[in-house]
Symmetry: C2
Subunit: 374 residues, 2 copies
């Protein structure tokens, strides 16, 4: 069957399962934070439980949280976003389904990078969209450019993510602006996945697409920076004219986002908590990047998110078997690059720095020892 | 744009919004229970909060809950379902998206009844599926039959729901079996929406499609019988050969269902609580049905769910304006029939008995008074 025959499973799940069987593994494969959210969120959820708050919410979500998100754009980016343009979704995952549904028709084209987050292509297959996978590499710091886009005809919408998963790089301001202007000139929808915003290091400040355009669809959520992957709560900022179409898709596909998560997340914008958490992740990034640089070639500086994209070609050109080898022989779990596309991904593996430095240090010790005797 | 231009919004939302503006309304429009879930669920969620349980779960969901669901099939229907065939989903809404994705390709046909739950058709439009809406009425007690299906060529899958929303009727055993056997003989996928199971009255016992076939996809969830619409948690029982394809779609479209909801719902199978709740709803059904019978023609006995489908043709043939009229003049909110399809739905309105008898009695008083002087 055509719709699902191209879908790719999460290969990392094989690794995870095997790691659990083996036991005593070092986890560089896990793409989620290891911390609980701020105390205010937990208290908010406890209150909601005591109140027995289990009804559906309106499709766009509860207003107090949509207002907090609107405030966040003001405080964090100095951008005005009316709460009317904010819609809460079931994870950012749910937001992509809605954005693609309203921007791209059956058989039409959506462009994104390879390597990139694997679900973009799989959402496309499920929705009958024709995915245009644009190969990117170190030459452009793993960014798509307007020039690359111009080589493809009839693209209806573009999906970027910054900071990127799996490469950890950030889109530069100039390139971001160039892409947005190109899309505007060609009437191409622009979707910006900003789920790793907040996790940007070395004093660099990330840019939301909304700084440059009110026509972009911006998608963010509570799974990464806000430490709540299991809450399954995301949001989207919509251009005014797309608010109603998006709401109708939301009503029908999801009814509403999880109520308890919405109530708790009203308290998630605890900027002190978020700064401390980011500082911890910056230390982890520094530690892991310094160590890995001496072992693998790293052709992209990890500026954000919590990933490092390591070129293993000195050791292997088959990342899947290399990952299995590390797992079986050194009890280190990593994600094979092929999970993220087909463009040269066989010679990369992805390290996540979602565990503390002590845990990672043991991993580095095992890695060095194993590679020495290999 | 084709994908979304046919999507229908929830018309009842207009009613709801206007009802909130007016204030002091009687709510016959709300399609969700007015009770909190059993105490065990709340305690389970409190513990999960104290533990800081916010990670993603495996795509298929946590095993303890999948085991409880497997037990439920044994205890409630005497049917064996391995937990391996159980997958937790984001509401039943999320389960339909997965079932349709794996059974019906782009441009292929899915059949269901008109009137019926409006989202079936809207999932179809979003997924590029060609919906076949089969008109049903009082002649077959609002059931689709194998004979009706046989009039359509190339149907890939059939979606039924029993007890039905909006009509509250149940599929009889013989007809259910006939439909399932017809589908088997023609290699047509069979999807059974059993979200209102448990809410079946007068001592009648409902049948799960799994009693007759292991090839059916059965969809159920925690929004109605288990009183947790806001938990956004559903489940699907899959034929063995579809477990893996469904898991891959789940991973990609949703990652996993809400974690807190999964942990809490391990305690949801509190049969004493559920019996009491059903007894209360049976009283409400009896009250409302007896009252409405003397006001409207009711051509389908409400055997289950929490809805009554009332023929208003004695008063109007425009259910939307009739609903607005009741709202503005009598402060009674009902759902216009046109929310549920195009087949003769203009002369019906849907009453939900999701509020207590006192509240409903006041509604009946207002309704009678208004209709007398109209
Ligand atoms: C780049 C990117 N976007 C989106 C998501 C989806 O996350 P969620 O659905 O939890 O918001 C992920 C998760 O790993 C991701 O890496
Ligand atoms: C017949 C029917 N199926 C499915 C649903 C979806 O419910 P949920 O996504 O909350 O499980 C509803 C909700 O009203 C319904 O009436």
């Amino acid at each position: 069957m055509k719709r699902t025959e191209n879908l790719t499973p999460f290969i990392v799940m094989d690794i995870l399962q095997r790691a659990n069987e083996i036991g005593d593994c070092i986890h560089f494969e896990v793409g989620q934070p290891d911390m609980a959210p701020s105390g205010g969120v937990l208290d908010g959820m406890r209150e909601a439980l005591d109140d027995g708050q289990f009804p559906y919410t309106p499709a766009k979500g509860i207003m107090p949280l949509r207002e907090k998100i609107s405030d966040f754009y003001k405080q964090y980016y100095r951008v005005q976003v009316s709460p009317e343009r904010v819609m809460l979704t079931v994870g950012t995952s749910g937001a992509f389904l809605i954005a693609y549904s309203i921007l791209v028709d059956i058989g039409e084209k959506l462009a994104f990078t390879d390597p990139g987050y694997p679900c973009y292509k799989n959402y496309s297959y499920v929705l009958g969209i024709d995915p245009v996978m644009i190969p990117v590499g170190a030459e452009t710091n793993y960014q798509m450019t307007a020039g690359m886009l111009a080589e493809h005809e009839n693209v209806k919408a573009v999906q970027i993510s910054s900071p990127c998963n799996p490469t950890g790089n950030l889109y530069g301001k100039e390139n971001l602006l160039g892409l947005i202007e190109y899309c505007k000139s060609k009437d191409i929808g622009f979707i910006s996945d900003e789920i790793y915003h907040g996790l940007v290091y070395s004093g660099v400040k990330e840019h939301t697409a909304l700084e440059f355009s009110d026509d972009a669809i911006v998608i963010n959520g509570f799974s990464k920076y806000f430490c709540m992957p299991g809450a399954r709560l995301g949001w989207m900022i919509l251009p005014e004219k797309l608010v109603r179409p998006a709401e109708v898709v939301m009503q029908n596909l999801f009814i509403s986002a999880p109520t308890m998560s919405q109530i708790g997340c009203v308290h998630a914008f605890d900027y002190k908590f978020l700064e401390d958490y980011k500082a911890e992740y910056e230390k982890r990034r520094d530690f892991l990047y310094n160590e890995l640089k001496s072992i693998f070639k790293i052709d992209v500086v990890p500026e954000g998110a919590f990933y490092i994209w390591a070129d293993i070609s000195e050791y292997s050109d088959d990342c899947y078997n290399f990952a299995l080898e590390l797992l079986e022989n050194a009890r280190i779990a990593v994600t094979p690059g092929v999970d993220f596309g087909r463009n040269n991904t066989g010679k990369y593996i992805r390290f996540a720095y979602t565990r503390n430095i002590e845990h990672m240090a043991e991993g580095i010790r095992r890695l060095k020892e194993y590679l020495k005797q290999r």
